[in-house]
Point group: C2
Chain length 129, copies 2
């Protein structure tokens, strides 16, 4: 995959990846990929990231079942950001149960409000082992 | 703007901001804001970033005229990414003349192709001073 040479990974070997719903264009989340996660995502067709907090590969939905099926892989003019379009299995991408991680908005004065509603109950999806 | 305390800025004082067209949801670009750029964006209603390459505030479109009028400001569950919806004046966000900076896509085997077409000629928009 020669095109990977066009991507700029940061000092930690990571590049941000915006995840967008392939049908209505909703931005679901932003996570980070390393070189290997880029290859895994393209090869398996499942969005795969590098978890900065857990320091390991993270196949989105591996625990909740809400995987993201790859529909399109693109990257920006500078090569320092990725955009993937996905089919979000289960309808929700956020671990809080909201469809999108971007469920909080701020008004001009900084006043906060919530948009969207919870699609699942996190307590039921992420069972303690 | 108390909500800014909910945002996590990295070691350089920056947070990534995804810019999305408010009408059809196209992801136009990703850039970085610092604390002051967040305030400026909300206060002025014009998308304002911190340019990492030029190390200064960057009102998107200040040179080309293609400013981005703020329509919605949101941030994610972890507070480490911003998403703004904007009205893109001039129709194109990318300095290359494409509507979106994400105009290159890679297939499963890594094969590259271009999506979209150039809306403006960069040589005419960015005149040498």
């Amino acid at each position: 995959m020669k095109f990977i040479e066009k991507l700029k990974f940061d000092a930690s070997g990571l590049i941000p990846a915006v995840v967008q719903d392939w049908k209505d264009g909703a931005v679901l989340m932003v996570a980070y990929m390393n070189r290997e996660a880029v290859k895994k995502t393209l090869k398996t067709g499942k969005a795969t990231f590098w978890s900065r907090s857990r320091q390991k590969f993270w196949i989105k939905g591996e625990e909740s079942g809400n995987i993201q099926k790859l529909k399109e892989f693109s990257f920006d003019c500078d090569g320092d950001c990725i955009l993937i379009k996905v089919e979000q299995v289960g309808g929700a991408a956020c671990h809080t149960g909201y469809r999108s991680c971007f469920f909080r908005k701020a008004g001009k004065t900084g006043k906060l409000s919530t948009k969207g509603k919870r699609i699942f109950d996190p307590a039921k999806v992420y069972k303690k082992k």
